[in-house]
Amino acid sequence: MFASIGRYVNYLFSEVGGAAEMIRSCVFWLTRSRFEWGQAVEQSVTIGVDSFGVTALTSLFTGMVLALQAGNTIGNIFGDPIFVGTIVTFSLIRELGPVLTSVVVSGRAGAAVTAQIGTMAVTEQIDALYTLGTNPIRYLVLPRMTGFIFTLPILTLFSNLFGILGGYLVAVYALGVPGEVYLTDITSYMGVRDFMHGFIKTFAFAFMIGTVCCYKGISTRGGAEGVGKSTTGAVVTTIVLILVLDYFLTAILTAFGI
């Protein structure tokens, strides 16, 4: 049993070490060579387009269910569904918006990135890049990392808007809250600070998703089965890390008054 724990710890350290080495290489190439702008824009668009529909749908229904639960619970206690807009928006922009969008992006675009780079690794295309004078970290990883870091915050903004819209629809048409009240509840009790709290988190999530998904892809071995394992591993790792990271980020940002 100790042997298997030892092996797992060893594996964990080698994975973290490998990912850290990849980030070091990213920084090296970012400062030493021409940045692949074309690739970065292409990746940002792909990640954005891939994930937009699912993100919008997820957020819309999250906003709707939040409004329904909040409205019913508060209605039962106070007689009227008050502060629905505040509760929906507060939950969305500080927590659910960034977290759910990151989970969706990891499952949709992150998995695609791992599968694509992983397939390239097992079919020797990564080695071919080296032999053709192209460092794969610079050519494949950097543009994808940039793509995640650029796209995730934008997707989160849209996700928040769709969630607020979902909440509005339920509050106004199912709970009978006047639309103006719903909106005033948002603007009166929420500030830029709340928005920044969620927005800052998305950059950390994006960096983590990019790192894990690219590293899992580039370290893929063992044919089609290996690609499957890497892809599943990447998605599971990122989802767990999003939730873990979310707690610590919340604690740190709150400590700094954000």
Binding site: F28, M120, E124, Q125, D127, A128, T131, L132, N135
Partner: protein, 254 residues
């Protein structure tokens, strides 16, 4: 000239290359023979720096490339080598034409306006028509993939070409076409070729020198004629493709 001195490569406690010393004369074709898992691919991946050697030296024109730690300097050495991968390793997100010109952007000063000319020229060198350039790699047969991959190697005009089992998985006629291509390229371009293979017919046809790799050591290096006449039982068994001999006995003992 390329020279390998006492090269060792291990993966954990698995010693793939135990003590390999070889020379590859300029402008000549050297075939490295060996069974599956004998370390042939590992050897040429060490040569081009895709794998780090555990010990030993790889001298390219007298400079030991195993001592290079800078990514930039290693890239400069790699520029002199071309590598034909076993399955072609064509980039499947690009067309044949984009594959052929991929290396030009990073390895040469060829202006982009000349790319169509390069595509036409290099595809012709490997016996393919220009209109293949529009196709995707998934639309090509195994033999065509290898030829496109070779055109991609040739586009950057390397001094040394490493061939990783160039005839594996091809029918006998296509294998012979690829062998002819290797001979042609040596004659036309004067490149140094290092070919790893277990295809005896192809090896005897294309090689100026042959080396036999067995269990991480070179058992014999010589001309094709010397290989035909050798008394070494391991080499003899491999050359004749017999199931009876020391190699099989070793397998049984395991």
């Amino acid at each position: 000239m390329i020279e390998i001195r006492h090269l060792k490569k291990s993966f954990g406690d698995k010693h793939v290359l135990k003590d390999v010393s070889l020379t590859f004369p300029k402008g000549k074709t050297t075939c490295i023979l060996g069974g599956s898992g004998s370390g042939k691919s590992t050897l040429i991946k060490c040569l081009i720096g895709l794998l780090d050697a555990t010990a030993g030296q790889i001298l390219v024109d007298g400079h030991d490339i195993t001592k290079i730690t800078s990514e930039m300097k290693l890239a400069a050495v790699r520029r002199r080598f071309g590598y034909l991968f076993q399955e072609g390793a064509l980039f499947d997100s690009m067309t044949v034409g984009e594959n052929v010109t991929f290396g030009l952007k990073y390895l040469t000063d060829v202006p982009e306006a000349n790319y169509p000319k390069v595509i036409k020229e290099k595809l012709a060198l490997v016996g393919l028509r220009e209109d293949v350039a529009r196709l995707n790699p998934s639309e090509l047969s195994g033999g065509m993939k290898k030829r496109v991959s070779l055109a991609r190697v040739l586009a950057v005009e390397p001094e040394v070409i490493l061939y990783d089992e160039p005839t594996t998985g091809l029918d006998p006629i296509m294998s012979d076409i690829i062998s002819d291509l290797i001979i042609d390229l040596k004659a036309k371009l004067g490149v140094t070729s290092i070919v790893i293979t277990h295809d005896m017919h192809s090896a005897f046809k294309i090689a100026d020198y042959i080396a036999f790799l067995y269990e991480g050591n070179i058992l014999l290096r010589g001309t094709p004629e010397e290989f035909r006449k050798t008394d070494n039982p391991y080499v003899k068994q491999f050359v004749t493709g017999s199931s009876k001999g020391p190699i099989q006995m070793k397998l049984r003992a395991e």
